[in-house]
């Protein structure tokens, strides 16, 4: 888009639009009509195609705002103000309706007959098939995410006729339909890509990298990597209620102090993903939404490959020594939800996760447990943190270091550069004691357990293995949540995990967004800004 939009075209577009920005008037605050919003973000949008290797998280928002999926999630009131997506409600986006066969193995989607791409061509089932084929074929993150919903091979996707799209599953799974509502399986204008892509690039990775081709609510008007992205509304969108905003400017401002000055002055209407500290301080003067991130826990992980941590008493002693309240106030500035001081008893049918653990800071109990362990005189251990995540990991690590010193465990803090962190913590799983922050996109406890507690799985950085957990996760992962057997299984998983403590939950983090003159913000599990429901006041 950047290369094709010339200055003159852009001005003409502005002049022709229903609302005309008073361009070239140096009054930014006055220049923003009720249909234009300016947002500042801290990260860089480095591609307009989520399926490409190396696409940054901030770039996922293009997949959300510019493309449609077959289905989307509903909306509910959120803890911490504003709205949140609702995992339990599936709503149509490109699909008008869908049916699931009795055996749960065949999903049939009817597309909206009036849905069109930006170039005016009708959205067909062939486009959907091509887009899904692409997501499962290009490798990397999109392919892994598709697999989570049981979508693995192009043969599973059938374009029955122009408006009917069928998915054949290998086994029924409750995760399939929610997995169709995550940012990855978006529908691309296949013909446009095929006409423009180079012959050696059948999936159009280079073309879509700079030129989105979708049917979504917003088009990309301009994109200058490292600076800004400008969305313009697609007035022919049928995927949902027509957005109130006509134009949205996303500016990249790396310094949190600068973002804060901008939002406080009101020159921008929204600061997305601000630090906990700024959120806590701005909450009195601006609209600050601090939504606890669903299915995400900041954990302290004792690694089972480190000998002292094989002793259950040592792990419990640590869980009783951790200064939860101090960590929650110092590292998270009280944003998010505390996860300590609960009851060990889990009521029947309670499958809420993350949940409060039975642990609280109790040094006497911690010392007793240490005395009862095989390591009564303590030991020393490095506590590893990532420099990329230092904003919460560093204060947390310092508090943990101090507290464990009191029960005889000498902790040395080891800082690991961001580029090495993933290899050390998740792949080699070699860090004896470390902090970890996994959050699952699909909001079910079994999905969290699948990634974080199953042996060998990516986020099980503690090398934990428990036969019962292995069985329970396998059995519950694809089971419908209203199955009578489901809740008891989940309860048992919680009991084991919180008793054995391969991960010691510290708190549930929040995603902070400050708004000054914008309303309708909605939290999403992907932690990126969905600009579609937002209004400017």
């Amino acid at each position: 888009m950047t290369t094709t939009t010339t200055r003159r075209d852009f001005l003409r577009m502005g002049a022709a639009g229903a609302s005309v920005l008073p361009f070239l008037k140096a009054m930014p605050a006055a220049a923003q009509g009720s249909d234009t919003m300016v947002v500042v973000i801290g990260q860089t949008i480095n591609s307009l195609d989520l399926h490409r290797t190396g696409t940054s998280r901030a770039a996922y928002q293009v997949g959300i705002n510019c493309y449609d999926r077959l289905v989307s999630f509903g909306t509910k009131e959120a803890i911490g103000g504003g709205y949140s997506y609702d995992y339990s409600v599936i709503e149509p986006e490109l699909a008008e309706s869908w049916t699931v066969s009795d055996d749960g193995m065949t999903l049939t989607f009817k597309l909206k007959p009036n849905a069109t791409f930006w170039d005016g061509r009708k959205v067909t089932a062939q486009d959907v098939k091509w887009s899904f084929d692409r997501a499962v074929s290009v490798g990397g993150f999109p392919t892994v995410q598709m697999k989570a919903g049981g979508l693995e091979r192009p043969e599973q996707f059938i374009a029955e006729d122009e408006e009917t799209f069928v998915i054949k599953l290998d086994r029924p799974s409750k995760l399939t339909i929610p997995d169709l509502a995550v940012p990855v399986p978006y529908v691309i204008n296949a013909l446009e890509v095929q006409a423009n892509a180079a012959p050696d690039d059948p999936w159009g990775l280079e073309y879509l990298h700079t030129t989105p081709a979708g049917s979504g609510a917003f088009k990309v008007l301009r994109w200058s990597p490292g600076e800004q992205l400008i969305y313009e509304r697609n007035d022919a969108w049928v995927g949902g209620p027509m957005p109130a905003l006509k134009r949205v400017v996303i500016r990249e401002v790396p310094s949190p102090a600068t973002s804060r000055a901008l939002i406080e002055r009101g020159d921008v209407q929204m600061a997305f993903g601000i630090p906990d500290k700024d959120a806590a301080e701005l909450a009195d003067t601006l609209d600050v939404f601090s939504t606890p991130v669903e299915n995400c826990i900041h954990c302290l992980c004792p690694n089972f490959s480190f000998e002292p941590f094989q002793d259950a008493n040592v792990r419990k002693a640590i869980a009783y020594a951790v200064p939860y309240e101090d960590i929650f106030q110092t590292a998270a500035f009280g944003r998010g939800l505390p996860l300590y001081g609960g009851s060990a008893e889990i009521p029947d049918g309670d499958i809420a996760w993350p949940r409060k653990t039975q642990y609280d800071t109790d040094l006497d109990k911690a010392r007793e447990l240490m005395a009862a362990s095989a390591w009564p005189d303590g030991f020393s251990v490095p506590l590893s943190i990532s420099l990329d995540l230092a904003s919460w990991m560093e204060p947390t690590a310092l508090l943990v270091q101090e507290a464990l010193g009191k029960i005889g465990i000498t902790v040395e803090i080891e800082k690991i550069p961001g580029a090495n962190w993933r290899t050390a913590v998740l792949v080699e799983k070699r860090l004896p004691l470390h902090l970890e922050n996994f959050g699952g996109w699909l909001n079910t406890p079994d999905y969290y357990f699948f990634w974080a507690y199953k042996d060998g799985h990516l986020f099980n950085s503690s090398n934990y293995r428990n036969e019962e957990i292995e069985q329970l996760v396998d059995a519950s992962l694809h089971m419908p949540m209203d199955d009578p057997a489901y809740a008891p299984m989940i309860k048992r998983m919680f009991e084991i995990a919180l008793d054995e403590l391969p991960r010691i939950p510290l708190y549930q983090p929040a995603l902070n967004v400050a708004a000054n003159g914008a309303e309708g913000y909605e939290f999403w599990f992907h932690r990126q800004l969905d600009v579609r429901p937002i209004k400017v006041t």
Partner: protein, 344 residues
């Protein structure tokens, strides 16, 4: 054959001398980036990637080949003018540099001009009136300039002039979003806007430039002012000045034509040094003012082991400094005819 043009010959000679330097930089930057900790294939394959997709990424990035072969490929592409693709920005490194280097240069040069405009007169006055209030003022400004870190000065200036007083524009990079960037000719917005005759945009770009350039100027002002003062003091106490005075030349003539011209040499040397460290100090200013410059680009590339981008950055910087040294040497000969250019 170039004998009738000694200066041109000297310039060409200096450029030829730069070739081994550039070759050295290419080899070292290649080896150093490979020595960086971290595995870029793992990083760019994404957090959820499995072994197979990491391997695919490694092959796509050409990192599965042995190092010597990677080097040959790199040099071959370099000779064709291809600096490779940056993975973190998703664009060719050459494009990124063409966009970002002018942004940094515009900022640094403006800051240097600003610093010179303040520091040199201040240094001269402090030297001619040493011990008076102006000398003390000079000392205070210099101490403050050196001791305040740039990101602090930057945030302070934003706080006062943007947040409290509201007279500075929003610190949102090179141009407020309501302006359209001028057509790319030099990449310097002030020059490009002036070429187009678009004075509205020129004013917009100039306004955005004031605070970051001021921040950087405060930082670079100190060494220039100190050096000017010291050099002027030395020059003013020299024999030739006494002779000039004794010969009855006017104070003005003595000060500017004799003392100042002689004092300029160390000042120009300092300027060269200041320019190089100002480009480095840029990183923090760029972060604070959301300035899309080369410093923040390089730091981000380094953090994620984006080899092509880091190599491109190092190479661009090396070429820039070769050029800078050449310009400074040429300036020497212009200032002081005693220095023979081809003597070296």
């Amino acid at each position: 054959m170039l004998a009738p043009y000694p200066r041109l010959r000297a310039v060409l000679l200096r450029c030829a001398q730069a070739i081994p330097v550039v070759i050295g930089v290419v080899v070292i930057s290649f080896l150093l980036t490979r020595a960086l900790p971290g595995d870029p294939a793992v990083y760019f394959a994404g957090i959820m990637a499995d072994e197979a997709s990491i391997e695919e990424t490694r092959i796509a990035m050409g990192l599965d080949k042995p190092l010597p072969q990677q080097f040959l490929i790199y040099v071959g592409e370099l000779l064709r003018g291809d600096l490779g693709m940056s993975l973190s920005s998703g664009r060719p490194v050459a494009t990124d540099l063409a966009n970002r280097l002018p942004a940094s240069l515009e900022l640094t040069l403006t800051a240097l001009l600003l610093a010179c405009a303040i520091a040199i007169p201040m240094g001269v006055m402090a030297a001619t009136r040493s011990g008076t209030w102006i000398d003390h003022l000079c000392r205070v400004v210099v101490t403050a300039g050196v001791s305040l870190p740039t990101f602090f000065t930057g945030i302070l200036l934003i706080f006062v002039f943007y947040y409290l007083l509201g007279i500075a524009p929003a610190p949102l990079g090179r141009l407020d979003f309501i302006y359209i960037e001028p057509d790319h000719v030099t990449g310097f917005y002030l020059i490009d806007a002036a070429l187009m005759g678009d004075w509205e945009t020129w004013r917009g770009a100039a306004k955005q430039l004031i605070l970051p350039a001021g921040t950087l100027a405060l930082f670079t002002l100190a060494p220039i002012a100190r050096m000017t003062r010291a050099a002027m003091l030395t020059a003013l106490s020299s024999d030739f000045i006494r002779t000039a005075r004794a010969a009855g030349l006017s104070g003005r003539k003595v000060l500017y034509a004799y003392a100042f011209r002689n004092a300029l040499l160390p000042v120009v040397t300092t300027l060269g040094m200041v320019f190089s460290f100002a480009l480095g100090a840029n990183v923090l200013v760029e972060k604070v003012f959301a300035w899309p410059g080369i410093g923040s680009y390089a730091v981000e590339a380094l953090v994620v082991s984006d080899y092509a981008a880091v190599q491109g950055f190092v190479l661009a910087m090396a070429l820039l400094f070769v050029l800078l040294n050449l310009v400074i040497d040429l300036l020497y000969t212009a200032i002081d005819p005693r220095i023979g250019f081809d003597a070296k």
